[in-house]
Amino acid sequence: MRRWNVLRFINMVTPVRTVLLLPMGATLVFGAWLEAKNPGSSDSAVAFLMLLQLFAVSTGFVSHARRGFYDPVLERVPRRAIAHFFCALWPGCIVLVGIGIAELIAGGRTHALGASAWTALALISSVAWAVSVRAGALSGGAVWLLASLALLLSGRGLNVLGVIKAAELGQASLRDVVETGLLYPVTIPSLNLSTPAEAILLGVSATALTAGVEYIARADFPIREEQG
């Protein structure tokens, strides 16, 4: 199977669910509509996209591998894992670029094409994907969202709105920004990240991606019936 076909094959075997693709498409339309109405106002569409991406990228690997679904992919296992990640990632990238193009056409602030939005997409995608590799479809998004909600409801989380406001004014501390980004990833595009904060969050993202790929490369996936 050629490289291109490996991506097509994995996309066919482990597609992003239609129930998530449809709202992602709607988010693109919503973002474009917001930009047409009031240039520079698509922040909420970008935040909603990040929320959807948490779940879209959590496609799961182990359950499919243990049924032999990836057997026809005659590629080295790490390449197979990276192809699996890209197949989960692409819908979010397309919608973010689409909202960015709408922003450029509207002539307002290019929020979706900014470094913060792409750092958020990278972090959310790699961490949620890595969690779902073993834990199963949708698990990455569910775990992260539940943890964020639990912290928020318990009152032990950070003062999120305060940090966002301080970040807008360039007054938030690096620690507050990074903690907010990790605990409430949906807020990252609004955090006006500094270069060190971006570097830390991208480092976390790269570590999560490496951990997911390494797990797939090192673990064994016996067919369920055989293991007994």
């Binding site: 049924r67 679904f69 016996p222």
Partner: protein
């Protein structure tokens, strides 16, 4: 005969359960080897270790180019793991286009889960056999769900491939079909493997003779 694929000292355990224990197996070009064993004997595990889909705890798998890495797909090699290894949600036509790269594309537009068991099996077998430049074929329960015509087609196809010099390993409980295709038989029980030629079993080898051999190994006393 050329050894196309060779496993030496292969062992594999799942937790405390030892499935393969120091298994040695050679697949030669132009020979069909039948793999026989009770349920849970480790036939699928052995096939997946040889295929490079599973790591063995000990032992090596090699081909003409040398020792093969664990969990790395083999070249010039095709494996059929059963109809259940085809994702049920994909459309048969899309699967055929991608897996067989156009060599055999089914007209069937339904999803795999909506096909009959035999059609699913046929889809998997056709996809495996359509892979180009293959000289080693591994099949796990290939006759499962096939009607008599399908079974006849499969037997003829396997014999053709063997005559053309391919090395074939077939695991099945359908001993009559195995007897129609295979030249040698490997009995797997309690993690150990013993290979017999047709001559060792008797002048005529059919399903009944294989069943007798299988029973002997089940209860050596």
């Amino acid at each position: 005969m050329t050894a196309r694929l060779e496993g030496r000292g292969l062992s594999k355990s799942y937790g405390r359960r030892r499935v393969l224990q120091d298994v040695n197996l050679t697949l030669e070009g132009g020979v069909a080897l039948g793999l026989i064993g009770p349920n849970g004997a480790g036939k699928t595990t052995l096939l997946r270790v040889l295929s490079g889909f599973l790591r063995s705890d000990a032992g090596k798998v090699s081909d003409v180019s040398g020792i093969l890495e664990s969990a790395m797909p083999r070249r010039r090699f095709a494996q059929f793991g059963g109809a259940h290894t085809i994702p049920p949600h994909v459309r048969a036509r899309s699967w055929g286009i991608l897996v067989s790269l156009g060599a055999w594309i089914p007209g069937e537009k339904r999803r795999v889960r909506d096909l009959s068991r035999g059609t699913r099996q046929m889809l998997g077998l056709r996809s495996t056999l359509a892979r180009p430049n293959v000289d080693t074929l591994l099949f796990d329960e290939p006759w499962e769900g096939l009607d008599p015509d399908g079974a006849r087609w499969l037997n003829a196809t396997l014999l053709e491939r063997v005559a053309a010099g391919a090395a074939v390993l077939v695991s099945s409980h359908r001993l009559h079909d195995l007897a129609a295709v295979c030249d040698r038989y490997a009995f797997l029980r309690d993690g150990s493997l013993r290979v017999c030629s047709r001559e060792e079993i008797g002048p005529v080898v059919g399903g009944d003779e294989l069943m007798r051999e299988f029973d002997k190994r089940k209860d050596p006393a």
